[in-house]
């Protein structure tokens, strides 16, 4: 219970701080963020966009890990864990896509421009969608679990192509990405210590939130399963 309350305060603080703290050219007070040239007020979305996309990847990774575990042990609990991770991944994936598109609108001028990262997250969205389509198509529990596990592992091995190889291939596609620093990792440039603190606090808070949601999610799936068994 304690850590849930703590989590509440972290998320609340991050939300307020991330949105309300002013951005000034020469920060003096502890609550002032520095001005990042080229980003200005847009910089604030970093506190929400980066954690959601980070969790998308984490959820995808966890879903694959538990898929592998399911195929080894054939325990339906692992499948419930993988499925919940995928469900949460889908939610965070949509959030990351939306926040990213909003950011892109103000930073690059359009909502969508097939930047390597945008392409990757789009592919991830497609993978999650396909995974749910596959799950809803199979009636029998074990078969559904096996096929979904196999598919998510196959999808997982294609991800390196997006992460490592797409940036090389896509650079010719849209102007600005070759010399645009915004498409690279943003954490390491010109954030001052209070900005970094809130950034990491947000990352930490969202990760804990994700873990909590995931735990509740898979436990409820298992309980639902048990209840069905009792009714039968």
């Amino acid at each position: 219970m304690i850590w849930q309350i703590l989590l509440f305060f972290i998320i609340a603080f991050v939300s307020v701080a991330g949105i309300a703290f002013p951005i000034v050219e020469n920060p003096i007070h502890w609550y002032e963020f520095p001005l990042i040239p080229g980003l200005e007020e847009n910089a604030k979305i970093i506190f929400f966009h980066v954690p959601t996309s980070w969790l998308t990847v984490i959820a995808f990774f966890m879903s694959t890990i538990f898929s592998i575990k399911y195929l080894r042990k054939k325990d339906l609990v692992d499948d419930a864990k993988a499925h919940t991770a995928a469900q949460l991944g889908m939610i965070f994936c949509i959030l990351a896509t939306v926040t990213g598109a909003v950011w892109a609108k103000f930073a690059w001028g359009s909502f969508w421009s097939w930047d390597p990262r945008q392409t990757s997250i789009f592919a991830l969205l497609l993978i999650y969608g396909a995974l749910f389509a596959l799950r809803s198509a199979v009636e029998q529990e074990e078969k559904r679990a096996t096929l979904a596990s196999v598919y998510s592992i196959i999808a997982f091995v294609t991800v390196p192509f997006f992460i490592f190889i797409m940036p090389r291939i896509m650079k010719g596609l849209h102007p600005g990405s070759a010399d645009d620093t915004h498409s690279g990792p943003v954490v390491d440039f010109k954030m001052n210590s209070n900005m970094l603190l809130i950034f990491y606090l947000s990352l930490f808070g969202f990760t804990i939130l994700y873990y909590w949601m995931w735990k509740v999610g898979y436990k409820s799936l298992i309980y639902k399963d048990k209840l069905d068994k009792q009714i039968k």
């Binding site: 054939k74 029998q140 529990e141 074990e142 399963d225 069905d228 068994k229 039968k232």
Partner: protein, 211 residues
Amino acid sequence: MNNYSLTIDSITKTFGRRLIFKNVILKCEENGIWGIAGPNGSGKSTFVKCLCGIISPTRGKVIHSLNNKEIEPEKLHNHIGFVSPYLVLYDEFSAEENLHYFAEIRGVKYNKEKIDYLLNEFLLYDRRSDFVKAYSSGMKQRLKFIFALMHSPELVILDEPISNLDNSGKEKVYKIVNEEAKNSVIIIASNDDSDLALCSSILDLNNYKND
């Protein structure tokens, strides 16, 4: 020379929440005929599919060994013959083409002598070059027996062997089964009394249902 033995080490199978059978133990060490009994829907087909490795049991192990060495799962299919009502042969080929392809895909020699003998016995020799889609269901059933026995397997599994067969066909099947039982282990899954009369010992799946 043929030291095949089948050990079923307390296997359990559940489909989702439904228990099919629990802790079944069986050991077949010498050639002969074993029976699996149980009413419709009792899991006979699931059980025999577990035996040939198509379905893996939820718990427990099925061990096939030849001359005290366990047969690799990759090669298991060449040691098993299987007849089942669910088995479907390739419609667009003739009976003989079907058998040729089976031998090739298995990677074993096409034993013409044995196959011709079986074709004769099951009264299919004259129609061996007809397409299977032109066959009646009884003829298809008889062709399945040839499919199961053509490579002289060590373990023959017959799931409801006499479905779709007429009386003379049944007699023929019983005769062949008795012949084959001299050099291989035969397992019959059926709820027909005349089938089970062939068996030297019978395992009733209904006894393995309690949770």
